[in-house]
């Protein structure tokens, strides 16, 4: 027995079947980051201790370049989803919420892509 009105049944509308999509994607990215974070942070910390040259030497390595791109892109997505929940919880005005949501998506997308670009540029020009 589905809880649908006759009209909804005729129109074929109802649940979009993605009710837990946001929550579940956030868990997937968090599991990925539990693995990626140690592999990214320690080599990065060691490299930045030697300045820009250190980072250039690190991301000349294919392994570290791949880990770096994965970390940056997965982090950008995880951050976007996390900040979205915070905005949903605390920003109630429709206009302010829409602006905040849009700014969040554009910020995380832009920073994530820029980070991936920077690592790949080092990897391909090294």
């Amino acid at each position: 027995m589905r809880y649908l009105t006759d009209r909804q049944r005729v129109e074929g509308l109802g649940s979009a079947k993605e009710g837990v999509g946001h929550w579940w994607t956030h868990r997937i990215t968090s599991v990925a980051l539990v693995i990626l974070t140690p592999f990214f942070v320690f080599p990065y910390a060691n490299a930045i201790g030697h300045g820009a040259e250190g980072l250039q030497a690190l991301y000349a390595s294919p392994f570290h370049a791949i880990v770096g791109v994965l970390f940056v892109l997965v982090t950008a997505h995880h951050l976007m989803q996390g900040l979205q929940v915070v905005i949903e919880d605390y920003v109630h005005n429709t206009l302010q919420r829409t602006v905040a949501m849009l700014a969040n998506t554009l910020f995380c997308g832009a920073v994530g892509i820029a980070g991936a670009f920077a690592i790949l540029k080092i990897a391909f020009t090294a």
Binding site: V34, T37, A45, I48, Q56, L79, A118
Partner: protein
Amino acid sequence: MADVNRGNRPLSPHLTIYRPQVNSIMSIFHRITGAGLAVGFLALVITLLHASGTVEAARPSGWWLLALILFFAVIGLWYHFGTGIRHLIWDMGHGFDMEFIKNSSIAIAAVAGVLSLITLFVAIF
């Protein structure tokens, strides 16, 4: 007239009247560190853009600001890492007793402190 009393109904108790508890404080800091790490993530990407030659080097004062942000980001990241793993354990339906919550809170603080020190040590030496 279901909405006749809208805006005038008793509210559930607000967060501010509760006595602070270890799990509520850690939950709030999980969220604060998560939001704050947005700034750390931006600082990280700026260092990558600089190292790749995509953007020019900032003034020396800019580097001190980046280093300061990354210093706090390291601590926030390892804290968020620890509480995040505990959230995954809770999501799988385990660890709802007070003993686990208290012991894991101490473990998270200790692990975050040790991993932060290791990260800073690796960066400096």
